[in-house]
Amino acid sequence: MKSENAAQRIIQFAFIALAGGAWYWATAAGKISPLFLPRPESVWNAFNRLLTLGQFWPPVRITLLTIAQAYAIAALCGILAGYLVTRSKFATEAVEPIIAGLFTIPITLFFPMFILFFGIGTGSKIAYGAVYGFFPIALSAIAGLGHVDERYLRAAQTMGASRLETFRHVLLPYAFPVILTGLRIGFFICFASVLGGETLSSVSGVGRNIALAAELMEPARMYAWIAFVILTAVSLNMLVTALENHAARRAGRS
C-alpha cells in the first residue's frame, strides 16, 4: 500500500517535472517562438513588474468585487427561485425543465445582449456572472427544497411554525447539503464567466488584462496573468474539496 502511494507521488511529480522541464528546454533551445511560449524567467519578471508598477492589485480588486456581487445575486436569487418553485409539486414539475433546459444552452451566447443592456463596464459582467451562476444554484435549490421529508414539514406545521420559520429551521437545514453543491458549482461558474466576460469585452479587470496583453503581443505579461488565474482557481478548488471532505468526515462520525 505504501509503496503504491509512493509510486503515485513519483509519477505525479514526474509529470509536473516533465511539463516544467519541457517548458525550459523548448524555450531555451529556441524550439518555440517566445511569442507563443516565453521563458519561465521572463514570465516571473513580468509578474514582478506588474507588482512593482502597481498594475497588479487594481484589476484583481475589480474582478474580485465583480465576482462577489455577481455571486451574491446568483445565490440569493437562485435559492429564492428554488424556494418559490418548490412551494407546489405542480409548479416544480412545470418550471424545473425550463430552467434545466435553458442551462444546457451556453449562456455565453447572450453575452452580447448583456453588453447591449448594461454597457461595457462592470455592470454587464455582474449581470452575466449572476445569470450564469443562477442556474446551478436554482436547480440544486429546487432539487433540495423539493424533496424535504414530509415528516419534518408536518411536525413543524403541527408545532405552529410560520412560513419563515419553516424555511429557516426545517427546509434550509434539510436541503443544505444539496444546495451547497449548487453553491460550489455556481461559484466556479461565476468566477469563470466574470473572467470570460472581461476577456470578451471590457475596459478593466483581470480578464481584460489577459486579452490586452495578447493584443499588445506581450506574452510574458499574459502568461503571468494566466498563471495567477490558474493558481487562484486551483487553490480555491483544493480548499473547497478539503472543506467538503472535512464536512463529510464529520457527518460520517456523528
Binding site: R154, Q157, M159, S162, S254
Partner: protein
C-alpha cells in the same frame, strides 16, 4: 393549561367532539376511491386518555389526522375546546407525536425542544426549564447535547414524546408512537407516559395496534371496524393513573385483553379477506 381556562364554557365542554366524520380519498365513483371512515362520532373528555384500536387500514391514523387538522374531513365536523377544526392545525391546543421520530437531525436534543417552543410562541425565558423538565420526566436529561442520530431508536422516541409533552397544549395526539420499538422499550415508555399523564392532566388520543398497550394506557378504548372504519364498540378500563406494571398481572387486565382480541379477530379476518380478494370486499362494502 391556562389557554383553556380563558373561556368559561370550555372547562365543562368535552376537549374533543367528533360528529359524523366521513372520509373518502379519491373522487367518489373512481376506481381509486377509498372510503376510509364512515360516520364516526366520539367525545373525548378533558384529561382523558383514549386509545383508537383497530385492524390496519381501518382509518385510525386518518381520524387522528382529522382531529389534528392535518386532513379536512369529507363530511362531518370536529370541534376542539369548542372551536371547529377546519383542516388547519391548532398548535396552541394540539401537539402531535408521530410514529417515527420527527426530531430534526440538524439540531441537538435541547435545540429541538427550543425550536418547538419557539414555533409555539412560548417566551424564550421558559424554553430551557420546560425542555429539561420534560427530558427529566423521560430520563433523558443527560442527553440534551446529543444529536438525534447519536441516540438509539428507543431513546429518540422517548425524546420525541417528551417534546410533544413539553409544549403548552392541552391535547396530545399520538400516532403509534411506540410502533418502531421493541417490546421491552414499549413497556417502559408506556409506564413513563402513564406517570406523565397523571402529572400533566393532558387529554391524549393514542393510536395503536397493541392490545396490551391499549389496556395498560387507556381510560377508554375505541375499537374500530375494518375499512371503512367506524366505531364498533367502546370499552371502559376504569383504572386510575398512574398505573404500575402490576396492573398487567391483574386478572382484569387479561380479561380486557381477551375481550378486545375477540372483538378485533372478526375485523382482522375481514381485512385479510379483502386483501386476498379486493374486488369481492369492495362489492360487499
Amino acid at each position: 393549561m391556562t389557554d383553556v381556562s380563558q373561556s368559561p364554557s370550555a372547562a365543562a365542554a368535552p376537549a374533543i367532539t367528533i360528529r359524523g366524520v366521513t372520509q373518502r380519498f379519491g373522487d367518489a365513483g373512481s376506481s381509486q376511491s377509498v372510503l376510509a371512515l364512515d360516520n364516526v362520532s366520539l367525545e373525548v373528555a378533558r384529561g382523558e386518555f383514549v386509545c383508537l384500536l383497530g385492524p390496519s387500514g381501518c382509518g385510525k391514523s386518518t381520524l387522528l389526522n382529522i382531529v389534528g387538522g392535518l386532513i379536512r374531513p369529507s363530511q362531518g365536523e370536529v370541534t376542539v375546546s369548542g372551536r371547529r377544526v377546519d383542516g388547519a392545525p391548532r398548535p396552541d391546543e394540539i401537539a402531535f407525536v408521530f410514529q417515527e421520530s420527527t426530531l430534526f437531525p440538524w439540531y441537538t436534543v435541547i435545540e429541538n425542544f427550543r425550536i418547538a417552543l419557539k414555533f409555539q410562541r412560548v417566551p424564550k425565558a421558559e424554553w430551557d426549564d420546560r425542555a429539561m423538565a420534560a427530558l427529566r420526566a423521560v430520563g433523558m436529561a443527560g442527553f440534551s447535547g446529543h444529536y438525534p442520530n447519536q441516540l438509539s431508536v428507543g431513546m429518540r422516541q422517548r425524546v420525541n414524546m417528551a417534546r410533544g409533552i413539553c409544549v403548552k397544549t392541552g391535547i396530545l395526539l399520538m400516532d403509534e408512537p411506540f410502533a418502531a420499538l421493541d417490546e421491552q422499550t414499549r413497556m417502559v415508555l408506556g409506564e413513563d407516559l402513564s406517570i406523565l399523564l397523571a402529572e400533566t392532566g393532558k387529554t391524549i388520543v393514542f393510536v395503536t395496534h397493541s392490545l396490551a398497550e391499549a389496556v395498560f394506557l387507556s381510560d377508554r378504548i375505541v375499537v374500530m371496524t375494518a375499512r371503512p372504519g367506524s366505531i364498533k364498540t367502546i370499552i371502559d378500563v376504569g383504572e386510575p393513573h398512574p398505573r404500575s406494571p402490576d396492573f398487567m398481572l391483574e386478572p382484569r387486565f387479561g380479561e380486557l385483553r381477551n375481550e378486545l382480541y375477540a372483538l378485533l379477530r372478526d375485523e382482522i379476518r375481514k381485512t385479510m379477506a379483502s386483501q386476498r380478494d379486493p374486488a369481492a370486499a369492495r362489492g360487499g362494502a
